[in-house]
Symmetry: C2
Subunit: 556 residues, 2 copies
């Protein structure tokens, strides 16, 4: 079992949580138009409501025969640890003392063969299987729904955590799925390489999870999304194996890799992935810029990207997020120096951009020169590397802040989308306005750039409705999702579909396209045990009350 | 109906065929170790064997009701024109005077709605449908097989040939499938844009065909393969439509675009594709280099590519192909100057590379400087832009040369594969040696570069066995395909699967992976009318004698 586990009721570990946000509360109070509650303590493990596990001793014994005695647990701690991802409704539920639904047991296979054997046993016994990597899903992707089956296990990939091979001539690394972000980078960097995949969940999410959820990292504008990095994969499905050798490119029919990338555990368990890696960059430079506004900033980034000058990291905040960043981040971002610098040039109230380049120093310098010239053409003012470094230092910390806010009775959530450049302004306004009906504070940034479009990442905050926090959230979430669909955006640019977005998938994949995926699933998973109620589900049959409420309860 | 049709018995049009290869015959005779036959005349349309069309007048009438009277033809010329692609066995068959199998009729729908209606009618009547774009397949992709159905039509996309929309802010063009290469570029260039997709079939192949076959063009190292350019698509399937709006990127489940790209007509007909386009490049520079040998040259290209310095066009010939290029190409490539230049530097017998860069002059110059420095480090000698320009002028002409050779009783064919860099040497030797058992002249070039690997493109020539040309070809083809599979290459890097490679697909897609694709096909095409006997077929049930012979006849 991996040693480091996240706080079951929130993000990360106590030792890494850092300072709470006490000194920025005044600003928040003012913006939310209400006083904040005193921080409530997190729930205690022993107080949580939990159903008795549904697996018989005989079945648990069969599972132990496959994976060893240490590879199966049905104690309270293990079940609660795998009872939810880290989405807002999940955390609200756990904070309310409710750990239902929880898996009936957690199973840690150590090999591909053990994984296959577990799936075959579960197919025979009618046990649903929820693949579980880092457990960081914010879309309900690891919710232990059992569908039409009588029981459900979480299949934790944490014991499959080897760097299987590194082909340095071909820049390809073969990884097992349970490797977490820091482990991936540690193993690769020791040999002079990097994957460069840094989602905000980096410290806890896993290689397998990245592939299964079609993940994007903070540097994916430069390094490429995980789908661009996947070259080969191995899937253990209830009906057998799909083994896709690493190819640089192929014209041999539809690309089955792309069926596995983003499959979110509904087809089987990824037991190996072959990813493109790069020589560890010799240098990196992150810096902040202030643009005259969000719209001008987007035009600057579009021009940069279409001219082949996109930085490796690029995020551009709208005006509300710029203000929030300056207030909440403190430290490096909001020194007296910064204030003076910005005000002198008359772009106060502008849009903050973080841009970063990595690689050989000479090439970083060359690329930065081209990028900086373009940003200046659009009225950008360089704020220097200080705030850029501050952002890089705190890049994985935002989820802790969310826990602090939750404890104080604040609804805080994020969601994201993408669209072609020509549709981005409409998409931005639609989602911002839709969320604005439900939350006084809505902030947005462009998080990833492509020649043909970009992603938008929204954060929204409101005082929590203590009487019906789930209904409150559902209404806001639904309004945002419907605005995304109506404006032609994708329902997710990097959080995936999971439980929360499944009803919106047919809008962009076509109902018949979803049917084709279901047909492929039925061939790989004939008894439907793999991750029920996610991705390809549009009806809440067999779902828990909790999931039903998210899907349909307060919404229809 | 499009005005320009290819010679039914070979490539292209008489007016563009250019000079035959008369003056290089001595060299060929010597290398093939035999005298060549006198050129045989092409077959005459009226002499071809052809079965009577199997469609009733009533069915033809129903088709005409859908697409208009001019949109259906069952005359000899139309049927023969759609009786085959341009693979070696197809041309051998037609040259032998046999146009069987031919489609029972050819249908040209003008719209998506007409396409859907034709497919629905064919599903009801049990008529197989072979989507037909440019008809340039060299893997039997448009062979009019009827599978278990009583009749078969070719569905020609030639009347769907509009540039539907150009989104200049997002660099996205919406194209109808029947647009041929020159039409695509003409429409885009008139507005300052380019797709930059230039397969050797460019002059006749179509946008829909490129997407359906997962095509790569000569400049795809720089511009990206067609799969990297596809952002959206619309498919008319017998069971309904799949409409995928253009997205720059998404995490909304498996990427259905990748199910349509490379689907080779077995799922339905692509009636619209949205492709990334670029501003028309301001300048371009093509030049030739001589490297000390194929292996050293590959190392040079690998280093270039992994350092981010890949040219937009890069092809590197092995020693036999270098010699063949110098002899056969004549003119620009083999001037007395070139001889002196190369000999002075002691790289005679080396490996010829063509490299090209396109874009803003300053950036072309900058990229070229970096590329040239790397090529020199590996012993490369620049031969200047003259031979590069000569290559660019003749880039689409090789298929005419093949017709000349066929007329003289020479077996000539090409095949291609790709693998990670670490496996490329083994793949090269395996395929070269396997073909060498069947052909005295085997040549190869690297045609596309990726950070993780490259493609190999083989040409092989032998004196044709006049008594059993198909058996002779089948043995060579099979030996090469088995060598590719054994060495871990992909069965096709850019020619696709079609009829000829279908039996090798499970080796790289997994038998269960192919089953998953078949399940998706069954959902979209429940009666199995779409392009039977291609891509997902591993048994020749219902195939013609001709196809059976290719699949199994002389091979087992």
């Amino acid at each position: 079992m991996p040693g480091r586990e996240m706080r079951f009721w929130g993000w990360g570990e106590d030792a890494r949580a850092g300072e709470p946000l006490a000194h920025r509360l005044d600003w928040l109070r003012e913006r939310l138009g209400t006083s904040l509650a005193a921080p409530s303590p997190p729930p205690r493990l022993d107080d949580l409501r939990l159903d008795t596990g549904a697996l018989t001793g005989a079945t648990l014994g069969e599972l132990r025969t496959i994976v060893g005695a240490g590879g199966v647990r049905d104690d309270r701690a293990a079940r609660v640890q795998h009872a939810a991802g880290k989405g807002y409704p999940d955390l609200v539920r756990l904070r309310s003392g409710d750990a239902r639904p929880a898996p009936d047991a957690v199973v840690w296979p150590a090999t591909h063969a053990q994984t296959r054997a577990v799936l075959e046993l579960c197919a025979r016994r009618g046990i649903a299987v929820v693949p579980f990597g880092g457990g960081t899903s914010v879309v309900g992707g690891v919710e232990p729904l059992r569908g039409s089956h009588g029981s459900v296990i979480a299949l934790d990939t944490g014991r499959m955590s080897r760097l299987v091979a590194l082909d340095e001539r071909s820049c390809l690394a073969v990884l097992e799925p349970g490797l977490r972000g820091p482990e991936v980078e540690h193993l690769l960097r020791a040999r002079g390489w990097t994957l460069g995949h840094l989602p905000q969940s980096f410290e806890y999410s896993t290689a397998g999870g990245w592939v299964a959820t079609r993940s994007a990292g903070q540097a994916s504008t430069g390094y490429g999304r995980i789908d661009a990095l996947v070259h080969g994969a191995r899937l253990a499905a209830p009906a057998g194996d799909v083994v896709l050798p690493a190819m640089p490119a192929s014209a041999a029919g539809p690309d089955l890799r792309e069926l596995l990338v983003g499959s979110e555990g509904v087809l089987g368990v990824l037991t190996q992935v072959t990813l493109r890696v790069r020589p560890r960059p010799a240098s990196g430079r992150y810096e902040a810029w202030m643009l005259p506004g969000f719209q001008a900033g987007r035009e600057a980034l579009r021009t940069l990207t279409q001219d082949g000058l996109a930085p490796d990291v690029a995020r551009l905040s709208d005006e509300p997020e710029t203000e929030m960043s300056l207030v909440l981040a403190g430290g490096g971002l909001r020194s007296a120096l910064l204030d003076r610098y910005v005000r002198a040039r008359g772009v106060d109230g502008g849009a903050l951009a973080i841009v970063g380049w990595e690689g050989e120093p000479a090439r970083v310098a060359w690329r930065r020169r081209g990028g900086a010239a373009a940003l200046r053409r659009f009225g950008g003012v360089a704020l220097g590397p200080g705030p850029g470094r501050a952002w890089a230092r705190g890049r994985f910390h935002a989820p802790y802040l969310r826990d602090d806010l939750l404890a104080r009775g604040v609804l805080v959530d994020t969601l994201e989308t993408a669209a072609p450049w020509s549709g981005l302004e409409r998409l931005y306004r639609s989602v911002r306005d839709a969320l604005g009906e439900h939350a006084p504070l809505v902030a947005c940034h462009v998080s990833h750039l492509y020649p043909t479009g970009a992603s938008l990442y929204f954060t929204f905050l409101a005082r929590q409705d203590a009487g019906d926090p789930l209904g409150q959230w559902s209404r806001a979430k639904r309004a945002a999702c419907e605005a995304i669909v109506a404006a032609g955006g994708t329902i997710s640019h990097h959080h995936a579909v999971g439980r929360d977005h499944a009803r919106y998938l047919p809008a962009e994949a076509s109902p018949l396209g979803v049917e084709a995926l279901r047909a492929a699933k039925a061939r790989l998973d004939p008894s439907g045990i793999m991750n029920p109620g996610k991705l390809l589900t549009d009806s809440p049959i067999g779902a828990t009350d909790f999931a039903q409420r998210i899907w349909t309860g307060p919404l229809r």
